[in-house]
């Protein structure tokens, strides 16, 4: 059953090189690659971000979201537990939940009124016994045998992840200690409040956005706003953490109180000393987010989740493929119940930095499209990822593509895994 999607579009093997420094452009272009990702990756032993626990806080609360392109429901039952299952009626395959979020006693398919409880079990079939002894389901029909596919659910510091695989390790083992502790740094011990949700439609393959998130090399080159206001410079104190699988990463930088004004940018002729000043500099006046000096922490979880702290703008991003050349990027901006009114205002102001209109992120929305358009007709060629060497390991330097190579390490392992099985 798992291979049915792959069968419909025959997969041509991708020509990978022996090391991680080359990425064949075809992986961003092939329908066959895309189809294989849906089964091997999104239905494989990996955790996909689904929603925030705050969005399914009470009994009967539910969210409808996606794992890859598969529609799923996360629901909290009256037993207090979270359950995840495909948003798909076992009868004819129609969606069960039509709203993004809500509160319900159960899910009833609008097509033929088959109903399901909050755990995703089929509990009712309309006219199961027919009418006046005629029609109806055969006696052999057993409701327990039919239901949407269920997921494993993991909750970590208010983030809800799901997996269709029984082989996926526990979330803490999946992420490793360093990544887990960096999630905890931003989210543990606080109660998140959603202050806004926005969706950006990207004109490119989903992996180009993932690469962009992991690419610390571009951050203060493409985003001149960053550099101009010294929010993030590659020469700042910071580093890259790449986990052992390669799939997860953290890029961080901190206030360097002793650092002298560096010359690295003027040496490279990258504009960093423009006369451009903010008319209202309060945009950049923040507070220590969690009592440390780290002013930027971008964290990604394989395959498509991002937790961001940029100054005091905290957000989660869900990267959802919706086609070979189309990606849905869901931003959820966070505040915390513990915020003072002044801190909340800082978050609203600094939300100007991120999202589709963000001073430092609007470029990310179009740069993936520039690549997608640029690689047209170049399916036999490859991208070059040699900045900072050829390995996928943690480093103090952010002038490296180590975490991008890490993504490809994890991706290649995922895509090769079922071929070997």
């Amino acid at each position: 059953m798992e291979s049915s999607v792959v069968d419909t579009v025959r997969e041509t093997p991708v020509d990978w090189t022996d090391d991680l420094t080359r990425v064949p452009y075809r992986v961003f272009q092939g329908e066959d690659v895309y189809a294989a990702e849906q089964t091997k990756l999104f239905h494989g032993p990996y955790w996909s971000y689904l929603c925030l626990e705050a969005e399914v806080a009470g009994p009967g609360d539910y969210c409808s979201t996606f794992v890859g392109e598969t529609p799923v429901i996360v629901a909290r039952d009256r037993d207090g537990e979270l359950y995840g299952f495909e948003n798909r009626c076992a009868h004819r395959g129609a969606l069960l939940a039509l709203d993004d979020r809500g509160n319900t006693k159960d899910f009833t398919c609008v097509y033929h009124a088959w109903s399901y409880n909050l755990q995703g079990d089929l509990t009712g079939v309309a006219f199961q016994d027919g009418v006046k002894g005629k029609g109806g389901m055969p006696d052999s029909f057993c409701m327990e045998d039919h239901g949407p596919r269920k997921m494993r659910i993991a909750v970590l510091h208010g983030l809800v992840f799901g997996s269709f695989s029984d082989d996926v390790p526990d979330i803490e083992d999946y992420l490793g200690e360093e990544i887990t502790s960096r999630i905890a740094r931003v989210l543990a011990g606080r109660t998140p409040e959603i202050i806004g949700r926005f969706t950006q439609i990207l004109p490119n393959n989903w992996k180009l956005y993932v690469e962009n998130v992991k690419d610390s090399y571009h951050a203060s080159i493409l985003h001149l706003f960053f550099t101009t206001f010294e929010l993030n410079r590659l020469s700042q104190r910071g580093g890259i953490i790449v986990d052992e699988s390669g799939g997860h990463h953290v890029s961080y930088s901190a206030i360097d109180r002793d650092a002298e004004k560096d010359v690295a940018y003027s040496d490279q002729n990258i504009r960093s000393e423009s006369a451009y000043k903010l008319a209202d500099p309060t945009l950049l006046e923040g507070f220590s987010e969690v009592g440390d000096d780290t002013t930027l922490q971008i964290l990604s979880v394989f395959p498509g989740f991002v937790l961001q702290q940029i100054q005091n703008s905290v957000a989660v991003r869900q990267i959802l493929p919706t086609g070979v050349e189309r990606t849905r990027l869901n931003w959820t901006y966070l505040g915390f119940e513990e915020d003072t009114p002044e801190q909340r205002e800082v978050r609203l102001k600094q939300a100007n930095l991120v999202g589709p209109a963000g001073y430092i992120s609007m470029e990310d929305g179009c740069v993936g499209g520039f690549v997608q358009r640029g690689i047209a007709g170049a399916a036999s060629q490859s991208a070059v990822l040699e900045m900072g060497g050829s390995l996928a390991e943690s480093s103090e330097s952010r002038v490296t593509e180590a975490s991008v190579r890490g993504f490809w390490k994890a991706y290649r392992a995922a895509m090769n895994r079922q071929e070997e099985a």
């Binding site: 926005f198 001149l224 209202d280 205002e345 102001k349 939300a351 100007n352 589709p356 609007m362």
Partner: protein, 156 residues
């Protein structure tokens, strides 16, 4: 509501959209009072009372910064807008000013010549009189769709 208010608001709207579509964009902040509120959000966020915006400014100077960032710092492909505005609905006039709503449709024309409907929605506005001129004290740009295609650089 006086017919006069309707005409005055209509005139501000026409000049406002022409400023964005035809330029110069540098004059766009002049439509606002100094302590204005300008926010771009979606109908879903608006109805749920979620306060964040795609753009969120509580001073006119933040709007000046938007324009200078577009000119100086941000990188994006050339494109232009065409605003098509509906007639303003003047809802209420009170001590706060004049409250009105106006529907908009924005067509985005990309460098390659492609015209697409980029956004539809409504301006939820409050106007005040400043030296006999109507200025925007508050404008919430409520987009109908939750989706923004690629990026939002020029203001709505």
């Amino acid at each position: 509501m006086s017919v006069n208010d309707f005409h005055r608001i209509g005139r501000v709207q026409a000049d406002y959209s022409r400023c964005i579509d035809e330029g110069p964009l540098e004059q766009w902040p002049d439509f606002f009072v100094e302590n204005c509120m300008y926010r771009i959000t979606t109908a879903q966020n608006y109805s749920e009372g979620l306060p964040a915006g795609l753009v969120w400014a509580n001073t006119r100077r933040m709007l000046v910064d938007r324009v200078s960032a577009l000119r100086e710092a941000n990188i994006y492909e050339q494109h232009t807008y065409r605003h098509i505005l509906g007639q303003p609905s003047v809802l209420e006039e009170n001590g706060d000013g004049i409250h009105a709503e106006t529907s908009f449709l924005v067509v985005r024309v990309m460098r390659d010549g492609q015209s697409d409907i980029f956004a539809s929605g409504r301006y939820v506005d409050r106007y005040v009189d400043v030296d006999d001129q109507l200025k925007i004290a508050e404008r919430v740009v409520v987009c109908d769709s939750t989706n923004i295609d690629t990026l939002l650089a020029l203001p709505l």
